[in-house]
Symmetry: C2
Subunit: 363 residues, 2 copies
């Protein structure tokens, strides 16, 4: 396929992993952990599933300088000049803008898929065919395309996309993006057949996303337009330019700044077994359970009168537990967390309290 | 006081500490831990409180070879020839017999106090006056004397001693020793004013206890009578003799084998603030609580919706806990235990299960 050489992949790998705190931490975020016990981390699995579809030299990793060693250790096949280090945390819009400007400078015909490094996809062959169909669509249309996951339950932890008119195959116009619904609304969404989970995976041509950013977030676009294309082709020049241009961008998501505003936004409905592993409960649900419905990550557990828990321990440890139901128990790197799964939304606050009270090393 | 040079103290320090598992362990039993946060371990506190009453050269430590380094590190002032290593675990009767034969060989006029290394006594001046009164009594009577603690609550975790006729001062004949009562019976005991907690601290002359052992547990007595007095005066000869004599003894407590059978048994009722720290709950009750009624040993805790817990952590760790009431949380040396205080009697079984399933290193 002649068009394959114009296809790029951007793996966003800069998250700091506070949702699985303390098991995933600022110094070892979620994407660098082998949560499924397969021997491959979420980042490695993200790479594995894309590398048959995209030329190796066209795969970019967007991450933070502090994760340089982790990325290089986990993906030794990726050359240094395909790892772009964000000098500050600015959410997805500046990250995607930089990647798009970087790619557009190399290849005016470039198309690209943008994917987080920390999601789980269980049905890889369906993923492949969906990606190929998506590339085919955006290569022939000035479209901003996102994957909408066919919902399998009334999940309240995800945003939903309502589809409009079908354009071709599984691809439709987007009617609306929604916030996370409450349970009642989520049930209505699922029953309607019109609502799909917002995956945060995008496909578009580099020129199309650059122009959309120029139109809807001109401040960010002008930060990247301040350098001419040659700068993006020179590793050192680009690094030096980005050191000031990137932090000058506002922190904003691509969803909010572009996708919810543009009128050429499309959704491809897919069924490839997706989970964003956004919560301990999501990990619990996805993981194999023992006979007492407990889940273990990296530890031995001796359980009495205990069901529905998830145990995630860094370092070799035996956990002996009695009388605990539906809890998260996680011990890693100087922190032990014991928290009901039902309170997992409070963990962010706990991390913050721990930092304020006991210092940054607990982040 | 001329009689002081004939007074000896035997500190029994061989326990393996399974009750505070995993915080106290076979390799670091309870008596070697600073549970009260005073900077002194229970063994050191036992030594401190006796050493103004007994000549330094008359204090003996009875322990197991595996704790040699711990004893020497914690009590560097004790010379090697005052530490007697039991070659096997045989409960208190053989331990006390050896100590008595060892002391009697040195001093036919010896009197002795025998005390566990792992109890807490909070009112040391009352302890001192009780000990002095006790020595005075046994030096003038062929008595087996034990301390009976005036009960302050209907405790079901202790055995009780019923007193008979008063002999002099706080000293009475023992009417009966009782097993641990249930709560109803414990209430009756306390209300009666006749029942006192069995402290496991004993005072007697060496010749009196030796003769009692000869009469009530002749098998043990003959094991120690098999050597003549000179053997007990020669460090190497004694060690070599004990290596076979001691393990040949049956494993039995001094309470069951002698105290409950002899007719010259007396109790001194005392009020010196005694706690045998026999359970996690006892430690909880004794320890200062924070505003949420949580107790911490050696860790920082950030607690949400959590009351009445005890956290005991070896190594530097932050514990973040939500929604936990009346639990024991202990993490040490490769084991994390989470167990309701109300189930603490099950911990022995858990230790055993852990050993069977995962190996001796978890003892």
């Amino acid at each position: 396929m002649e068009e394959m050489q114009h296809r790029y992949c951007v793996i966003m790998c800069g998250g700091i992993g506070s949702r699985f705190w303390p098991y995933s931490r600022a110094r070892l975020p979620k994407q660098f952990i082998d949560f499924l016990g397969t021997g491959r981390t979420l980042l490695q699995m993200s790479y594995d599933r894309i590398c048959s579809l995209i030329p190796a030299s066209n795969i970019l990793i967007m991450t933070n300088e502090r994760y340089a060693d982790l990325v290089k250790a986990q993906l030794p096949e990726i050359p240094d000049n395909q790892i772009l280090f964000e000098p500050a945390r600015r959410n997805t819009a500046p990250c995607i803008a930089w990647a798009a400007w970087h790619i557009a400078a190399r290849d005016p015909k470039a198309s690209m898929i943008v994917t987080p490094a920390d999601h789980v996809i269980t049905r890889e062959s369906l993923f492949e065919s969906s990606v190929l169909a998506g590339f085919d669509f955006i290569e022939h249309n000035d479209a901003l395309l996102t994957f909408g996951i066919t919902p399998t339950r009334p999940e309240t932890g995800y945003g939903y996309i309502q589809i409009g008119d079908t354009v071709e195959g599984d691809i439709s116009k987007v009617k609306t993006f929604t916030e996370k619904p409450d349970l009642e609304l989520a049930k209505v969404f699922v029953a309607s057949g019109e609502f799909f989970w917002n995956s945060g995976i995008f496909l578009w041509r580099a020129d199309v996303i650059c122009n959309a950013i120029r139109r809807y977030v001109p401040d960010i676009a002008s930060a990247f337009d301040a350098a001419d294309a040659n700068v993006y082709l020179d590793f050192e020049a680009e690094k030096s330019f980005i050191a000031t241009a990137f932090p000058s961008c506002m922190s904003i998501s691509i969803d909010y700044s572009v996708m919810e505003k543009a009128d050429n936004v499309y959704v491809e409905t897919v069924t490839f077994g997706w989970n964003d592993l956004g919560t301990w409960s999501a990990l619990y649900d996805l993981s194999p359970k023992n006979s007492e419905a407990n889940v273990t990550q990296n530890c031995n557990v001796l359980a009495y009168n205990s069901r529905g828990n998830i145990f995630a321990i860094r370092g070799e440890k035996l956990v002996v537990v009695d009388g605990l139901e539906d809890y998260i128990v996680s011990d890693a790197d100087g922190v032990l967390l014991i928290c009901p799964k039902a309170h997992e939304q409070e963990i962010k606050r706990m991390v913050n309290d721990a930092k304020v009270k006991f210092g940054d090393r607990f982040e």
